[in-house]
Structure formats: C-alpha cells, structure tokens
Symmetry: C3
Subunit: 356 residues, 3 copies
Amino acid sequence: MNVEPEKPYPIYTLLEIAGLLDAELRIGKDADQDVRIEGLASLASATESKVSFLANAKYRSELTSTRAAAVILSAKDAEYSPVACLIHEEPYLAYAKLSHYFNPRPKPVLGIHPSAVIASNVKIGDSVSIGPGVVILDHVEIGDNVVISSNSVIENAVSIGDDVTLMANVVLNFGVKVGSQVVIQSGSVIGSDGFGYAPSALLGEPTAWQKIAHCGSVVIGDRVEIGANTTIDRGVLDDTLIADDVIIDNQVHIAHNVKVGAGTAIAGCTGIAGSATIGEDCRIAGGVGITGHISIADRVSILSMTRVTGSIKQAGTFASGTSTQEVTKWRKSAARLNQLDELHKRVKALENEKSR
Amino acid sequence: MNVEPEKPYPIYTLLEIAGLLDAELRIGKDADQDVRIEGLASLASATESKVSFLANAKYRSELTSTRAAAVILSAKDAEYSPVACLIHEEPYLAYAKLSHYFNPRPKPVLGIHPSAVIASNVKIGDSVSIGPGVVILDHVEIGDNVVISSNSVIENAVSIGDDVTLMANVVLNFGVKVGSQVVIQSGSVIGSDGFGYAPSALLGEPTAWQKIAHCGSVVIGDRVEIGANTTIDRGVLDDTLIADDVIIDNQVHIAHNVKVGAGTAIAGCTGIAGSATIGEDCRIAGGVGITGHISIADRVSILSMTRVTGSIKQAGTFASGTSTQEVTKWRKSAARLNQLDELHKRVKALENEKSR
Amino acid sequence: MNVEPEKPYPIYTLLEIAGLLDAELRIGKDADQDVRIEGLASLASATESKVSFLANAKYRSELTSTRAAAVILSAKDAEYSPVACLIHEEPYLAYAKLSHYFNPRPKPVLGIHPSAVIASNVKIGDSVSIGPGVVILDHVEIGDNVVISSNSVIENAVSIGDDVTLMANVVLNFGVKVGSQVVIQSGSVIGSDGFGYAPSALLGEPTAWQKIAHCGSVVIGDRVEIGANTTIDRGVLDDTLIADDVIIDNQVHIAHNVKVGAGTAIAGCTGIAGSATIGEDCRIAGGVGITGHISIADRVSILSMTRVTGSIKQAGTFASGTSTQEVTKWRKSAARLNQLDELHKRVKALENEKSR
C-alpha cells in the first residue's frame, strides 16, 4: 500500500486528486475541478486551497461550515457538504493515501554517500540511498529502493528487503532479517541481546550472573512500521518474530523470543516480556506491560497502562488499573483498598449476624 | 538564565562568589573572604574548601553542624549558620547558578570537525562547535554559540536558534524548529513520524495499515531542556508544539500534535498520546500516561504513574493507582477489588434489610 | 565468568562439551561420545545434533520424549533421560556458559577502523576493536580486549576497564567510569545530565528554570550488563553508582545520584527517580516506578509495574496495582474503588446499628 508522489512540487487539481484516489468528484455547477490544491487540513482549519476529510460522523457539524476546496467523505455524508465532494468508500484510508502526495519532506538523495563505510562483500540493490556516516558490515544483503539514513549501523549478515526506509541512527544488529516495505524511525535498535542470565548459586551473594548468548535473531515481516527509540531483542535459541503488517510506536520494548501476530498495533511505551505470544490484529494501547511466557489471543484489545500477567484466551477488551482522582480523594481510595480484605470480613460478619 | 564560567580553572574566593551570585557575604570577624573555594557539596559532606546551600528548612539541623566554608541561605536562616553566609532571596536558584562555575566538563572545541558532513547550503552562525561525525543536510540554519556533539544528525531544513547544545547522537528530523538556549541530551529524536495509520477494512484481516504522511513538524521554544532518549513526534497536518521554558526528562514519549504549555515539567518515562494539550506550569511526574485528544489545565500536578484518561479542567493535584503492599496482602487486595461491585450489592442488601 | 569459544567453527563433540562444562558425561553403551553437536535447543525442539538442558523439574515430561543428543541436567534428573546426560550441579548455569560456544555472531575485527576519530592523548590497551565511525575524545583510557562498536561516542576523560563490549551507537558522556567485563547494548546513554533545575519564583509565571550543572559522574562496576536504549544520568555533586554484577534491561531510566547495589537485576521499562538507593540482590521487574530519595533494602523483589513511593526496609516481595479484567467488569471495579471510602462508612453504620 505504499504510495509515491508523482510530482516534484505538491500541487494537484481536484480532478487529479479524484484520479489519484479513485474517488468520485461531485462538484457544484459553479465550481472548478481545476482548482489548485496545496495541501490537506482539518475541516475546521481548511482554507480554499486545501482538501479535508470526514471519517467520523461526530465531526459532521464541522463539515457544514468548512471552507475547504473539497472534502473526502462517504456517499452518505455527501449531502451535508457545502463544498465539493471526493466520494470514497473509506474516507480515512483515502486521506491517508493522499497525505503522501503533499508531504513536504524531500526525497532522499539516491546513491551511496562517500562517508558511508560499507564492507566489500555487501550486496546492494538498485535505486538505494545510503546516507552519510552509515556503517554496513560484512555479508549484508539490501534490496531495491532502500533508504538507509545518516549514521545508521547495519551489522554483519543482516538482510533487508525492497522499499525499506531506515531513518537516522537506526541499529540493526547481527543477522536481523527485515522484510519489504518496512519503515523504522530513528534511534530504534533491532537485535540487541535479551535480558537472559543464569544466576550462580555456587558463587554466593551478591548474585553473579552468567550471560546467556543470544544465538537467535529477529525476523521482521513485510509492511512493518517501527517508531523511534523502540527496541526489539534477538531470541535466545529461536528468533523473535514480528509478523507482516504489525505497527509499533515509539519507546516500545519487545523482549527476546516474543512473537507478534500480523496486523497487530502496539502503542508507545508498552513493554512485552520474554517469550510472550501476541495474536493477530490485537490493539495494545500505550504503557501496557505484558508478562513473559503468556499468550494473547487474536483480536484482543488492551487499554492503556494495563498490567497483563496471565494469558488472554479469547478476543475482547481488557484493562486494569484505577481512575484518576483529585489527590485527597485518591489517598482515601488507595488507603481503603488496602483495607478491603478486612472490609469483606466485616460485611460477612454482618451477613452472618442477620441470618442468625 | 544561562550562566557562563569566566575562569578556565574553577577556583573562586568567597568574595568572588558573592559577586557572581549578587549575594550578601556575611562572615565572622576571624574569617577570610579570600578563602579559595573548589566546589559545591551538601551540608553534611562539605569540607572547608566547599560552599553548600540550605534551600529547605528541614535540613536546618544539618546546617548547624556543617563544615562548609560558607552556606548559601536566606536571611532568616543566617542566624543558625556556624560558618560564613551567602545570603540570597532564593538560595536554591543561587546554588543552581553557581553550580555551572564549578562544572568540570571541558568546554567544546570551537569550529567544525573535519569529519563532519555538512551540506554546502547550510547557514552556520558564529562560535559554533560541530563535532566529529555530525551530519547536517540541506538548507539547515544554525545560530551563534551552538554546540552539536559527535555523531548527531540534523536533517534538511532544520532551524536552530542561538546558544543551543545538542549532546552526542541526537537526531533532529526534517524541518524541526528549535529555539534559543535549548539543551537536548544524547539519543533523543525530535521529529520522527507519529503513530498514524488508516486501517483498511476493504483488505480484510489481518489489518493492512496505510501510513499517514506526517506533513507537520515539531516546534520547540526557547530555554527548553530535553533529556536523553526522549522522542517527540512531528505533527500530521499541524506542528507538535513545545512552548518556552518546558523541561522534559529522559525516555519521555510525546506523540504527534501534542501541545505542551510554557514552564511545564515532565519527568522520566512519561508518555503523552497524540493531540493531547498540556497547560502551562504543569508538573507531570514520572511514568504518567496521558491519553490522546484530552486537555490538561494550567498548573495541574499529576503524581507518578497516574493514568490520565480524561481532561482535567482546573488546577490541582491528581493521581491514580494503588499503594505498594507486601505481596500476600496485595494479592488479597487485588482479588477483593475485582469483587468490589458484588460487595457493594451485599452492603446494599444489608442496608435494605435494616430499613425494613 | 566470561567464556570464550576456542574454535572458529562451532562444532563440538559430546566429550569436548563435557570438558568445557566440567560436567560428567553419562552415556548409553551404544552411544557415541564423539557425536558432533552443532547447537543448543529446547527439550521439545532438539534434534540429534543438538544439546538441551533441564533446569526446572516442571519440564521433566519434555525430558522423557526429547530427541536431543544429550541433556544437561542434575544428577537426580538423570534417571529420567532417554538420551546421554551431561550432569552438572547447576544445569542452567552450565547451559548459559555453553551457549557462548555456539554463538554464530562473528568476533569483532581487531584494530582501529580508519574512519574512527580518536584524540591523540587517548590511552588504548591491547587487542581492542574500535569500529567505523567511533568517536573518542580527549584523555580517555581504554583497557585490554575492549570492543567499541560502530558510531559509538566516548566523550572526554571516560575510563573503560578490560574486556568491555559496547555495541553500536552507545554514548558514554564526559568522565564516566566503566569497570571490567561490562557489556552495554546499542543506543544506551551513560552520563547524561539529570533532571535538575531550580524554579525561579522571582521571575513569575510561567516558571523559568535554572539548570543545575551536573558536576558528578556515573561509576559502573565490574560485570555489569546494560540493555538497549537505557539511560543512566550523571550525579549532581556526587556520582551515580552502579555496583558490580548489576544487570539492567532495555529502556530503563536511572536518574541522577541513584545507587544500585551489587547483584541487583532491573527489568525493562523501569524508572528509578533521583537519589533512590537500591539494595544488593534485588529483583525489580519490568515497568516498575521508584520514587526519588527512598531506600530499598537488600533482597527485595518488586513485581511488574509496581509504584514504589516509600522506602522498603526489609527483604520480601512487594507489589501494587490491580488485575486485568474484561473491560465491562473493570469499569465497575474502577468506579467502585472511587466509592470505597463511602462504602467503608456505610459498613461502619451497619455495624453501629447492630451493636445498639
């Protein structure tokens, strides 16, 4: 589903946009299908040179007062639009596709920057961009249309598919396998050693730890997206596995031998401990902690900052934690919680009293 | 409020320190205003060549036994001091200013290291220090007295004000705007793409995700401080905004289109989800999680590890979560919590019984 | 406890492995002590060229059906093994040691890569490997057998002991001291400035913050392991201290002036606020938050995502938080928790009624 702007300068007419999106352009008789569109904007802030979108009925009131040149929306919302309509079955998807045509970020310069350090036995595909200060060690294989941005490090025996973008300062450790159409934001580390040590009781206290070599790797599927400063550890004996179409946000920690199923989304600051298995199409919110060696079924949603300490065996939505309160009320709630077992016993006593 | 040591070697007399701080030096008749001070120390550990400070009345007992050469303190505490006094209206602020004069860290070497890779169209101010391995791409603008430390990457069209320090391995992605007197610690990433994708229902399960281009940027005000390995994502249509005088700790995640108001402090490991708006002068402790699309009023304090899932509309202190217990007691509390709705019903039944 | 493979190609006979581990090889009369072993595997997945291990009696059923060439186990489990036994007092420790012999990761190339930038006054030991793009500033001292991987940055006056490995993109800031046999994974930052600022009431609102210079450093003991994208801040006046044999996972935040005692293990995404003191041999699980200026005794275990806001004065296991529930049940629990103080009062009223 990658999209590629066709023009160097991001101005398109409404008619061109309808063509790019395969959308129906419905336009008032006085309107101009050749109006020049310079970007996207929200319904409320759009001006006459912008296209907007309506993806959620709750914003319909904003639709009726928008000044956008046109709005991407579904057929059933078109009657409420005061401006031209770009009718699409999935307005949000269409907007997402269109956004790439207006991205002001310059395309990476093709070729290999002379300051990059690349081992002589590396295989590199066509139309790649390898930035300044990049380091690529022995026996790496890189596909076509790959972008490796400044100061990233690709260690030995890594393989990277086609149409992959690594932003600046990414590290792919030894032997990591990355599929095609993958994007990794800056500062992420894929293939670090996991947190695996054997304590030695023989050696007394404090504990001395024997590091376990991590002989597995990390295998990342196609169309995976990984945010900034995320870490994915390599496996101990087998590989850590990130399936196709997984999207992972910033500052996520995925430990050794985790398996994440296809289509799953993992939001920022979430940590997944070793050997946990996450199903397909799960939605894991931010700040969640998932214990090691458990399984989460397909299509499980987990709310933010939930502490998951056992397997979840069927689809559904799950949560833990408590609500925010003003601090004096919260102190009472928190104190009372610690007396809860005693309160149960007191209620039981009252019930026994009553039944006598 | 930046301060700049005037001497290459950090030794100052008491009289000089009084001048640096604009403090009143009150000294016993046998004491020496020219005693050489070599550094700062706590009241308890200070020796005769150190200056200490008293910023909180609860440490007054430590004051009475200190061996420091002098103590920075308020006029009302001076009578309790057994040693020379540096009297200042805000002792902690004065101590903070003085600390820079004794910082042993060498000043960065001025100039551009020959190994740095800098595009020919970059504008660079006076008295800059650009370290080894730094990469600066096209159309970047850099002010005066800027330090860019080793292996940092500054992508296209970034602008950086005056008196900014970037430590090693910082990444500023395309188009990020940084004000003046900003400090960013190592490993932080500013301007990564946010976690924005449109799911495609048309394509069935598992979900395929269409990435949304992030056409906005990140705008960082003046005197902002950002810790190590923090990430701030760029906006989708508009910019992510960090106002003047915001201080942000390590490992913080600030998602796309967040706005943080002036003077707000955000401690380590906190995550703020997309399009949340944080007011001015807030104090957000460590490990807090703030949901997207909500607003926090000015002067709100949030205790550590609080889960904020709704807007907070007025100043105050807020918390969620439970207290630490010994694990066997905690297991009972946690189990009882899950029976709490049932307990409420049992109490209701007892009350109904009573009223009959 | 570092182990070093002796062979370039990781194939060993059972007899050689027994020698490497100082284990007793107990083998059936038809079996072959010279069978070639190519790697390690779990009991369930091992084939005839693999060695496995039994470290936990609950996997004994997997032992009885394993197809491994041999199993590392304790003497008391040997009778259940259908295959050759490598008998060792601590099977998990023996497995951990053996894992390094089969690690496929190539050994780093010895020497200094020509693209590394190294100040002329740096002292470097024997048999070091300094990778491409590494930057080493003035007055650094580096021991023997040290590996500094690609694009890492070692700032002024850092000292590094013997047998240390820094993976790619590690930053050691000014003056940090690292012991011997230390491993630091990619993206970690040691010695960043801590989150220390003095607010200036004199300057009105929003708050203006005066940064406090961090004149202390970070001192890391021997045999410490630090994961990926972890940050350890330098001290303000004194040093932040990580004792010998501490192991720290990914994405951990350790603030200024924290002290971590020997043998303690800290799992991923945990944050420890400033000036907290952690005892020896503690086990701190993932996502834990520890408040500043508190003390944790020796041999304390803290369960995942616990919020520790006060000192823990004796050994034991501690937790906070609530259990995961299906979301509709959880909403009731969370709502009822906020009514808990009121419920206590209602129970008290019922009890008073009864006693009248």
